[in-house]
């Protein structure tokens, strides 16, 4: 199929984008890498009247470490650029691990970080990664820019906190503590498909080898990535398999997993249980290895 007719605007300034958005409330869509939007247009699952191409706004394609332990990625940074950066900088290895599951190198070359976040597919990797790491999103609307904390950004399937007249400018990713370990696990129908379930964990140990902080997030079972508050319960535990299994059970009990063609609710619950345990276990083991390494260094 081919898209329904639409007007095409190639924006030269951010102000132009915002003004066209404001003139066409709810009817305009931003075209960045097009990896989700173009298929939606072709399938006529989306039929905006105006398409605003922002690919000339190269100032939005920059990536930089910032003071205050964060990484700023402009919305036009490609998924592939972020992946390359993350691979080369061990502090961001969790991003690299998660991005490896996002589509294929070909789609990552075109797909953007901002596009995936703003699209907010419930089973997508980037929203999950932002949820686990935490951070701030910067958006510009007619009245200027504003900051949106990551935990307030994803509202529902394909729905974010962005107003119809706002453009997502950049994301500021929180850098995980250097002593933390991470885990990322995903099951999908095929390589590169959206996750049936994906889980990510970050674990930091205290001086005595017990868990100081554990963060856990899950995507797939629900309408948005879920930051698991109950991960707090792992504080001061010694990270035994029983601790992780217990937490996984609590999470699964609280879920009403999506029931779909790709996976029935019961199977999604099983995957959630398993991937939580695996992510936490990996994160805990990596944190322990890092602690041991530091001890040896001392």
């Amino acid at each position: 199929m081919k898209p329904a007719a639409f007007d095409y605007v190639r924006a030269d300034t951010i102000d132009e984008v915002v003004s066209v958005l404001a003139q066409n409330p709810g009817e305009a869509r931003i075209l960045a890498g097009g990896q989700s939007l173009i298929p939606l247009l072709n399938m006529r699952l989306a039929a905006p009247t105006v398409l605003i191409d922002i690919n000339r706004l190269r100032q939005l394609a920059t990536l930089a470490e910032e003071p205050g332990a964060s990484l700023a990625t402009g919305c036009l940074v490609t998924q592939r650029s972020l992946e390359h950066y993350a691979r080369a900088h061990p502090a961001w290895a969790l991003l690299a691990a998660g991005l490896a599951h996002l589509g294929h190198p070909q789609t990552r070359n075109a797909g953007t970080v901002g596009g995936s976040l703003a699209h907010a597919d419930p089973a997508a990797e980037l929203p999950l990664l932002l949820t686990i790491l935490g951070g701030v999103l910067e958006a510009q609307g007619p009245s200027g820019t504003r900051l949106i904390p990551s935990q307030e950004f994803f509202r529902f399937m394909y729905t974010t906190a962005l107003a119809p007249d706002e453009l997502l400018l950049a994301v500021h990713w929180n850098r995980p503590p250097s002593a933390s370990g991470f885990g990322f696990h995903e099951v999908s129908g095929r390589h590169g498909d959206f996750a049936l379930v994906a889980a990510a964990a970050l674990v930091t140990l205290d001086g005595s080898g017990r868990i100081d902080e554990a963060r856990l997030a899950v995507a797939g079972p629900g309408p948005t990535p879920l930051l698991v508050n109950e991960a707090r319960m792992l504080h001061k535990t010694s990270g035994t398999p029983q601790d992780f299994a217990g937490l996984a059970e609590i999470v699964v009990e609280g879920l009403v997993p999506l029931d779909s063609l790709e996976a029935k609710a019961e199977f999604r619950a099983q995957l959630t249980r398993v991937l939580i345990i695996r992510s936490l276990t990996d994160a805990w083991q990596m944190a322990q290895q890092k602690a041991e390494g530091e001890i040896r260094h001392d």
Binding site: G189, R190, G192, L261, K264, F267, Q270, V274
Partner: protein
């Protein structure tokens, strides 16, 4: 009659058995091939189908006025515009039943997606818009979606003759008696699913009217002989319809029944303008015929030491709403249902019931593939019951030359089951080890026998024309359709081999029902067998004429004439091609020939007794094996390595053979693990390739093709067909490996999804 062994010409030919990349492959990779949908021109119209939204409904009105009134709409055609609105076929070829289907439904629809009207407009967008303006009034009727339920007494009748589409019998010996006395009897059930051909090229084509009144259809089809049916539909003499098939971007049986052809022909016939039609992937997934889902009940009896004694087999297939090729597909399933094994007694009942699902029809493997899913799994299950090694059990029962099949016919060519099994076993190497603790590994094997060529009562034939130019280049004309397997190129290679020239010297003109001699379609793994044999004969006949002329010209014995690139040579002298041409003219010898190959023919199948003197001309045998690793907690199955071996008689171009095997395994892995077209009350639930999961490159394991050559095929140069055999053993090989890994727990329905693996482990 076995194929004749050809020694190869006395000249520079001799490419048989050498791997070489066909010219068409390079052209396809470079994007230079003009496919059926690529024809676009000024003034061309675009056609779109209006399809049924209901699985079963009475049609009370098809209102077309609004669509007709839309500017740019050239025609809106319904059943009343079809001169003869019925397509009839006797698919089993035995006179057992003629099945009919409307071109455009008018009073009743029987499946979702059934064509109701053709809208023809100035652009695809206009055609879409007009199609939406066609208002169809439906009165929904009770529908049935399960062939078992459809065959129950109280089921709504789908066709006037009832809901049983076909029932085949195969009988050998006294099954009841053997079963009653057998020391070991096991019973199992297996099920297979709807899958789609998912070729790269969608159903597409164009049509136009020539000044002389001939309607030309250029379309992606496996069968240019459909021109006769199209002429029948239009009430025109056969000679007034011409069907051209350029290179086809994948057929796999999905372009064996007609797709766009009748609608294009109708549109050109009525508008008298060029028309193009391309189906979307959604249309294809929803409404194109699928592979038959089948349910198998197997009862197998054996002695304690593992000799097969009897098989009692029930097969039930979902024919969907119309018969299409169902009777033929079920026949293939019935003939090979007991697998490539000796059995004393066999009873097979293979039935297909109509439902209000999309019709099922041809798909690479053609029923024989579904049967392999059952017969190769039950061999492993029987071995487990007997406490025997599954390969030892197979070796004990392998079919051998001279044996009688369950149908009563005798196997007269080489049966290289042990050879292919040995090759696969050796190539797989040491047993797999889990890559980390907690994972399960298993190795599985499957053997298969797959017919090639049509059943003998069809009296199959294929014709090839060859001619020599006075510059020494050769034309070969054959009505083959080339679906990507090199069906055209190989004819040039065979002819070159016989003539003793380089393959480049022979240009193959193919796929035109008016200008190339008819060979029959590319299906049933028949094209190499049929057209290849015809090409051998044509090349031999032409060589003989050239030699005769050359001997007169140069002196010497005709048999010793050598054909070279510049001309001919004997011990006494030589002549250049233009001299040969002049001499031939002088002598009244035409350097052009038409030769027809007639396949072995025989009487029809005796379905009452369930026996035949012969069913198919021959079979191709093989063995596949693979290692899998399974994550028992998530159910994810990863194939670690895959090895496939077939005896292809003789590999004419081993690169093409390997391509068939690689492709067959890849397609088979999708069938085994991820692919299923899901329908709910006839509505397709996963109508895009984002939801219908064909394996991509990253999902496939390393696949090794081991080509064996017994030298005993019935094809040209003693080759056997390989198109379909390569896919059939994949699913049971994977299923057996999975069951091994799961310690005997078995997923008995395809596809073997992660969900089913987890459920199966849970149940245990």
């Amino acid at each position: 009659m076995a194929g004749r062994r050809i020694a190869g010409g006395p000249g520079v030919g001799g490419t048989t058995g050498q791997k070489f990349a066909r010219k068409d492959v390079a052209a396809k990779v470079a994007g230079l091939v003009s496919y059926s949908g690529d024809t676009q021109g000024a003034g061309m119209l675009h056609a779109r189908l209006v399809r049924s939204l209901y699985p079963h409904a009475r049609i009370t009105e098809i209102a077309i006025a609004a669509a007709q009134a839309l500017p740019g709409v050239a025609a809106v055609l319904t059943a009343r515009d079809v001169p003869c609105n019925v397509l009839a076929e006797d698919p089993s070829g035995t006179g057992g039943g003629v099945f009919t289907q409307p071109v455009l439904a008018s009073t009743e629809v029987r499946y979702v997606g059934e064509p109701l009207a053709v809208v023809v407009a100035a652009s695809p967008v206009l055609a879409d818009a007009a199609a939406q303006l066609v208002k169809v009034t439906y009165e929904p009727l009770p529908a049935v979606f399960d062939p078992g339920l459809a065959l129950a007494d109280d089921a709504p009748p789908i066709h006037p003759g009832g809901n049983l589409c076909v029932q085949w019998h195969v009988n050998k010996g006294n099954v009841e008696e053997v079963l009653a006395q057998a020391p070991v009897v096991i019973q199992r059930e297996y099920a297979t699913q709807f899958v789609d051909h998912a070729y790269l090229e969608p159903e597409a084509g164009s049509a136009w009217l020539e000044a002389d009144g001939v309607i030309v259809i250029r379309a992606a089809t496996q069968v240019i002989e459909h021109y006769r049916r199209l002429a029948g539909m239009l009430n025109l003499p056969h000679s007034r319809v011409r069907l051209i098939a350029p290179y086809v971007g994948g057929g796999f049986g999905g372009k064996e029944d007609m797709t766009v052809e009748p609608y294009l022909a109708l549109a050109a016939f009525h508008t008298r303008r060029p028309v193009r039609m391309v189906w979307s992937r959604q249309e294809s997934l929803q409404a194109r015929p699928k592979r038959h889902p089948m349910r198998f009940q197997y009862t197998v009896a054996a002695s304690r030491d593992g000799k097969l004694e009897a098989v009692d087999i029930n097969i039930l297939a979902d024919a969907g709403a119309y018969a299409l090729l169902t009777p033929r597909v079920l026949f293939a399933a019935a003939v090979v249902a007991s697998g490539p094994y000796r059995v004393l007694a066999a009873r097979v009942v293979a039935r297909a019931g109509y439902t209000h699902n999309v019709p099922s029809s041809a798909f690479r493997g053609f029923g024989a593939m579904q049967a392999a899913v059952a017969y190769e799994q039950i061999m492993d299950e029987l071995a487990e019951t007997l406490g025997m090694d599954p390969l030892e059990l197979r070796r004990k029962n392998f079919l051998q030359r001279g044996d009688e099949l369950a149908t009563g016919e005798r196997v007269e060519t080489a049966v290289w089951l042990p050879e292919t099994l040995n090759a696969v076993q050796a190539a797989l190497g040491p047993e797999p080890q889990p890559s980390r603790p907690g994972l399960l590994v298993g190795r599985g094997y499957a053997m298969n026998m797959q017919p090639y060529g049509r059943t003998v009562w069809f009296g199959d034939q294929a014709a090839v024309w060859m001619g020599l130019e006075n510059d020494g280049s050769f034309h070969l004309r054959a009505g083959v359709t080339d679906v990507g397997g090199g069906q055209a190129a190989v004819l040039g290679q065979i002819a070159a081999e016989v003539l003793g020239v380089l393959p480049e010297a022979v240009t193959v003109h193919f796929g035109d029902s008016a200008l190339t001699p008819l060979t029959g379609g590319t299906f049933a793994t028949r094209q190499l067998y049929m057209s290849g044999n015809a090409a051998v004969r044509a090349a031999e006949s032409l060589r003989e004429r050239i030699q005769r002329v050359a001997a007169t010209l140069c002196g010497g014995d005709a048999k010793t004439v050598v054909i070279e690139s510049q001309g001919v040579r004997t011990a006494r002298g030589s002549a250049r091609w233009h001299e040969v041409a002049a001499a031939a003219r002088q002598a009244g010898v035409a350097l052009e020939v038409l030769e027809t190959f007639f396949a072995e023919s025989g009487p029809g199948y005796d379905n009452r007794r369930g026996t035949a003197a012969r069913t198919f001309p021959d079979f191709t045998y093989g063995c596949h094996g693979c290692d899998v690793e399974i994550d028992p907690e998530t159910g994810q199955v990863q194939i670690l390595q895959y090895v496939a071996s077939h005896d292809v008689g003789r590999a004419i171009n081993p690169l093409s053979v390997e391509g068939q095997i690689q492709g067959g395994v890849a397609q088979g892995i999708g069938y085994a693990l991820t692919e299923e077209v899901l329908f709910h009350e006839g509505q397709c639930l996963n109508g895009t390739l984002a939801q219908y999961l064909i394996p991509a490159a990253a999902d496939l394991p390393p696949i090794r093709a081991l080509i064996l050559e017994s030298g005993e095929g019935k094809g040209p140069l003693n080759a056997r067909g390989i198109g379909e055999p390569a896919i059939s053993p994949v699913a049971p090989a994977v299923a057996n490996a999975v069951a091994r890994a799961l310690g005997g727990a078995r997923v008995r329905s395809l596809p073997i999804t992660g969900e089913k693996v987890v459920d199966t482990l849970f149940e245990r």
